[in-house]
């Protein structure tokens, strides 16, 4: 691939991110104008349209890193490694959004900033795993070694997640029970559900845009290192 093609990747990613950010503004107009005020949680519930999609993107990012790492160990294509690293970096950003928006909501609704509930603990753990993964990457010099080591650690992390969820669950849990993804039909009022689903879509686009842009930059940097 020529240097121009990598730049084009970055450009496309940045465009997609910019469009998603604009759409995100639209989501918030909808969230304020078109959804009702929730009866028991009041205005604080509006953070739901940011928090849930951010959590979704963080989890998506983590899964993408795991799956792409597995593919890397199988195919040994350095591009897969760069893609996993980009997905992880963007995943960290969404983890931070999730971990800051959650307490802002929890303070008025639960009366506490933080609870050691199963899902909260799990997302904090995901954040630590992401940080460990990125620190490891910065501590290995050789690109092939870095790719193998970080892929192995990412896969171990993926296997760990259900265990931590289960152990904290055995401890006890108070997180709101699922209102959308559950065996019976969603219990969320129609307009709230529509805005949430739109927000999920826009956040996923934003995630994809940022990963694409980051991946383009990583490719450009890798090419420059080979040429130089």
């Amino acid at each position: 691939m020529t240097a121009g093609a990598e730049r084009a990747l970055t450009r496309r990613g940045l465009w997609l991110s910019a469009v998603s950010l604009l759409l995100l503004v639209g989501i918030y107009v909808l969230a304020f104008a078109a959804t009702p005020i929730e009866r028991s949680q009041g205005f604080a519930q509006k953070i739901f349209y940011l928090h849930v999609p951010a959590a979704w993107c963080a989890l998506l990012g983590f899964t993408v890193v795991g799956v792409v790492s597995l593919l890397y160990l199988w195919l040994k294509d350095p591009r897969l490694d760069l893609f996993a690293a980009s997905a992880a970096e963007v995943g960290v950003i969404f983890s931070i959004v999730m971990l800051t928006s959650g307490p802002l909501w929890a303070r008025p609704v639960w009366g506490t900033w933080w609870q050691w509930d199963a899902r909260l603990t799990l997302t904090l753990l995901l954040f630590f795993l992401f940080l460990g993964y990125l620190s490891l990457r910065s501590a290995v010099h050789d690109p092939a070694e870095r790719a193998r080591f970080s892929a192995v650690v990412a896969l171990l992390g993926l296997v760990l997640v259900p265990f931590v969820h289960l152990s904290v669950y055995l401890f006890r849990t108070i997180h709101p029970t699922p209102v959308v993804l559950k065996p019976s039909a969603p219990t969320l009022p129609g307009s709230m559900l529509t805005v949430l689903l739109l927000s999920l879509l826009v956040h996923t686009l934003l995630y994809a845009g940022l990963v694409l842009a980051r991946y383009g930059i990583a490719r450009t940097a890798a090419e420059a290192r080979i040429d130089g």
Partner: protein, 229 residues
């Protein structure tokens, strides 16, 4: 053609070599054991004596100390190999990398269990708890909580030793994996000391057992990717 028997034979040889080297220098064992003793001593004083009796703190102090001391001991397995490029020579030998994994894992397991064998009696002594009647179950839960995280520690040890800041990277990457065994260990120990029936902790015991099986398997599968060139 490498047969299963070959893998076990080589694994035993690697484990034997590691343990002999450890017995000669005793560096890892002595430092991990004295580290454990000191951390336990700190725990006895780092306790709010107006609210908590010594026995209330014992399960947490025991498991945190054990986990941290084990982590320091795990660094040993590959730090030793790094000197003089011994690991590269080991990998040049025509043996399956899985065999090297199981050898390293077995040696680590022995070292970490020796650390446990010292930490547990010291914790009983320092915190003055009555363990008559629950010694068997306490030993059993220690044996159940250890193999899974030692397996992860073996793989992450092989990774971290070849990074910058190896001593920092091992705990940073390994601590999340201590969470399930540590929580399980503390919960089971606390209930054993409170004379609760074993049925109350059946869920935890199952979780610990599954954790061991899953992580020993996954680590054996992933280890070759770490050491291959």
């Amino acid at each position: 053609m490498r047969s299963m028997a070959d893998v076990w034979r080589v694994a035993l040889l690697v484990a034997g070599k590691d343990l002999r080297a450890e017995l000669k220098s005793k560096t890892a064992l002595v430092s991990a054991v004295s580290f454990a003793a000191m951390v336990l001593m700190i725990f006895t004083f780092a306790r709010d004596s107006t609210r908590l009796g010594p026995a209330d703190l014992m399960p947490s102090a025991l498991w945190i100390t054990y986990a941290f001391a084990a982590t320091t001991a795990l660094h040993r397995a590959f730090a030793l190999e790094k000197e003089n490029g011994a690991l590269d020579l080991l990998l040049l030998a025509p043996v399956a990398p899985e065999a090297i994994f199981f050898g390293k894992f077995a040696a680590n397991l022995v070292v970490v269990l020796v650390v446990a064998a010292v930490t547990l009696p010291l914790a009983v002594l320092f915190f003055n708890v009555d363990v008559r009647g629950v010694i068997g179950p306490l030993v059993a839960v220690t044996l159940l909580a250890t193999p899974g995280f030692v397996a992860v520690g073996t793989v992450i040890g092989a990774v971290s030793v070849r990074t910058r800041f190896a001593e920092l990277m091992l705990p940073l990457l390994l601590l999340p994996f201590l969470l399930p065994p540590l929580i399980g260990g503390v919960q089971v120990t606390a209930r054993l000391l409170a004379d609760r029936p074993l049925s109350e902790v059946a869920g935890w015991l199952r979780l610990l057992a599954v954790y061991d099986v899953v992580f020993v398997t996954v680590c054996a599968l992933l280890f070759p990717s770490v050491v291959e060139e």
